[in-house]
Symmetry: C2
Subunit: 555 residues, 2 copies
Amino acid sequence: MEQMNILVVGGVAAGASFAARARRLSETAHITILERGPDVSFANCGLPYHIGGEIAARDALAVQTPESLKGLLNLEVRTQCEATSIDRVGKRLQIRNLRTQQSEWLSYDKLMLAPGASPIRPNWPGIDDPRIMTLRNLQDMDHLTAATETGMRAVVIGAGFIGLEMAEQLRHKGLIVHLVELQSQVFPALDAPMAALLDSELRQHEVALHLSDGVTRFESHDDFVRCHLSSGLALEADLVVLSIGVKPDSELARAAGLQLGPRGHIVVDEFQRTSDLDIYAAGDAVETADRVFADQRTVVPMGGPANRQGRVAADHVFMPDRARPYPGSLGTAIVRAFTVAAGLTGWSEKRLQAAGRPYQTVTVNDSHHASYYPGAKPLTLKILWDPDSGRLLGAQASGFEGIDKRLDVLATAILAGMTVEDLCHLELAYAPPFGAAKDIVNLAGFAACNRRDGLVVHTSELPDDPQVQVVDVRGKPLADAFPVPGHPINIPFPALRASLDKLDRTRPVVTVCAFGKMSYFAARVLAQHGFDVTSFSGGLKANIDPRTPAKLPSA
Amino acid sequence: MEQMNILVVGGVAAGASFAARARRLSETAHITILERGPDVSFANCGLPYHIGGEIAARDALAVQTPESLKGLLNLEVRTQCEATSIDRVGKRLQIRNLRTQQSEWLSYDKLMLAPGASPIRPNWPGIDDPRIMTLRNLQDMDHLTAATETGMRAVVIGAGFIGLEMAEQLRHKGLIVHLVELQSQVFPALDAPMAALLDSELRQHEVALHLSDGVTRFESHDDFVRCHLSSGLALEADLVVLSIGVKPDSELARAAGLQLGPRGHIVVDEFQRTSDLDIYAAGDAVETADRVFADQRTVVPMGGPANRQGRVAADHVFMPDRARPYPGSLGTAIVRAFTVAAGLTGWSEKRLQAAGRPYQTVTVNDSHHASYYPGAKPLTLKILWDPDSGRLLGAQASGFEGIDKRLDVLATAILAGMTVEDLCHLELAYAPPFGAAKDIVNLAGFAACNRRDGLVVHTSELPDDPQVQVVDVRGKPLADAFPVPGHPINIPFPALRASLDKLDRTRPVVTVCAFGKMSYFAARVLAQHGFDVTSFSGGLKANIDPRTPAKLPSA
């Protein structure tokens, strides 16, 4: 393996991780990174925060330079250098220097493709206006930053991760922000109820939301771009951020005849090898195994998987006997907008439904730490599991504090193949400033087991059928102030056992409360008294208005 | 099961959880809680925070009252009522009303013992002075609170959880605080280097630490108690907090002939049954299976296990066909002192050593979220694993933010039987405000795998042998300002490849840096150039001065 020649196309997350690990494993290899842009190894996840001013110094995002990579890792880095063609038989890569436009061929023993993914820029009328921008690299960031310094009106198209972060940061900077989303909710990867708090938070911070709406065309004027929406609305903007998703930069791979997936991603094996075993690929341009369902392939264009894939590939090149496979991607993600955080791991309910896979789910509410300790904030957790085995399939969390922690615990649990029964007995770190003796993750396990054990039947929808008795077990003041739709019967829980004669035993009952806990208690009482009863999962908070000023039930 | 008679001795965590779950499962059972103290179901973990004033309202800690438990759960609660004797043959419990001193016998079908554990109060000379207090319940809290309102000088004996929390809270309230600990470190459950930051934080907040020191006797004076220490020091105190551990309140069980463990804890099976199958026990008074080593028994006197044990027992009483066993306790714990948090899960290095069990360990340092995002704080993580299987055995974390999150992830990983290889591919929630593309948990997995793959040899001690070349690869300013003890050779890492001739290839090398990352890089370079090289694990930060003002290595 002396003097092995390694070429790396793309020098950001996957490419830079691959090269760094390669050098750790071989001092003698020639390792060259070819990067189309002017920068390598920059912190692409931080771009929105510099535009908004939260990360003040641009230098903070330029993690490494060609010079630092030479000094630390003895890597050769060629920026503004595009890979244009692969000669697989001759094991050569053609590159073009974008400054001089000169081309040359470089030989490789192993080639790593880490080209990433580009923001989608559809062929909408008027889209070529330079004020309609995307955000991928430091140059895009600089253009957007400049635009925010002269413009006041921003339209953000797409309410996924980048769209939400940009909406927040542009508001942070004082701009007027419209956020347009084709789906009927923000953060479309979440199930709709779990995105409700984020929706409310954005509106509270005066982000104008336009849901179930999309751009039909742009109209360029001297002083603004007019964005015409399918609803008929027209928004005037000084700058437009287009953040409707990314597509893999797999043209080089396609032209070389490497196998691509149905959406154009490079297909790799568990060691990140493409269909040409001397060519590896990693990062946003590849599809991998899905870690929830082994028979599925998935695409998770995020920094964590990219970094780890690069590392796996380098291990396989330099120590194939000890390299461990990339186990696939799970799709753990989180976004913050103002004071709210929300995220998911594994499969969502809508994705399970669309795939026709069986699942069960519960939603629970609690405080992020002991409710009696100052500063406790409400949070909501939803879990999904396989009805047969109890194995966790996915989880979502939304709230103000401790969202990342619960997602991380649940991601770990899913990766370990844990069941909802296992969640009951997670022994998590507890002192009043940090958690609760029964953490919300335990509570989710309890609720799921109650369902599995037949102790309670859950519904996630209030009944339409007037035959069904809706019993609101909240206190009267709350029941009056934030009434359940329809014709609920208010029986505060402590009065329930003495009030059974107010209910008709021959008609079904749905119990309702603020957070889903008291309605479960009530359902247990009624079930044991012979009622046909269903509990409204997650309570009104999770389903109607996430900011209902209801007191948390005492623990 | 109609009209089953259930008696519960003890109405705090385990007893209250048992009773609540029992009622959820049976509307018809007679359930009576017998509590020696005047309060039930109070938040015992919150007691120090009310003394310090952080939890302002005393009512916040009185989670439930006998009246609320009657209303919500139809429980009969008798406070100030002591269980004095069990007639196992007649299935009767003798109780004494502590107000009237009258005794009576109550019948049971099932009896739950949840008596808890009492603070240890050794037979030291002078210990009966009422100014020497312990902290178990609201009355103790009230006494201590009153004492802090007249006294100014506090001595806290024992630097475990309660001792550390009390030291913090008493300083918070402005008292002069001495903290005395028999061990040579604070938080003795941790391995010593992981407690160093906590030590430094306490001193910074003017808690006078007296380590490796203990009380020999107390001397009562009108205006103060004098605490004589084995070092010869004498401390004058207006109040003394005794927090040197707890012992199980298992006298009732012992007198009834129930099986006890070696340290007096009630022995239970996986459904919390004692050696009498109609008598269950749960909480601080019991010993359970250990979740790391199935052949071990353990005692974890904390709220989380207590609550979950109570629940398991109730399930077993009322639905034995569906009850799932209590899987044992892991011993996850966290403590905060001022701005620092530290904790552990599973087994520590000292515990593994004492038990003669094989293990390997690494310590890693990183930021709690992306280092380029404002507010990133350093944290240190130590993991321990089985050398054969790679299975995780324990973890410890110390730092300012995100400590609870990493402990929770690692507790989940340990409970799932994950290996260090699995840690590499945990896919955790990442956006710049929440984490990093490679979280410190992933980094710990990488470091452990590097060690398992033979890529690096770690040491946790600087060499004494003058034959060994200690190579400090930090920048010269840092190396000069915070020198490595002995005679290090300073070669900043970027200069290393060009400076190999400064080193003697015939003599071993130990590489040293601030955080353990650059020393690993250096060890890889040197190993590939034929050196016999060892990397100083965790760097100088984790081993010498946790507040060394060293720049974090760029990610």
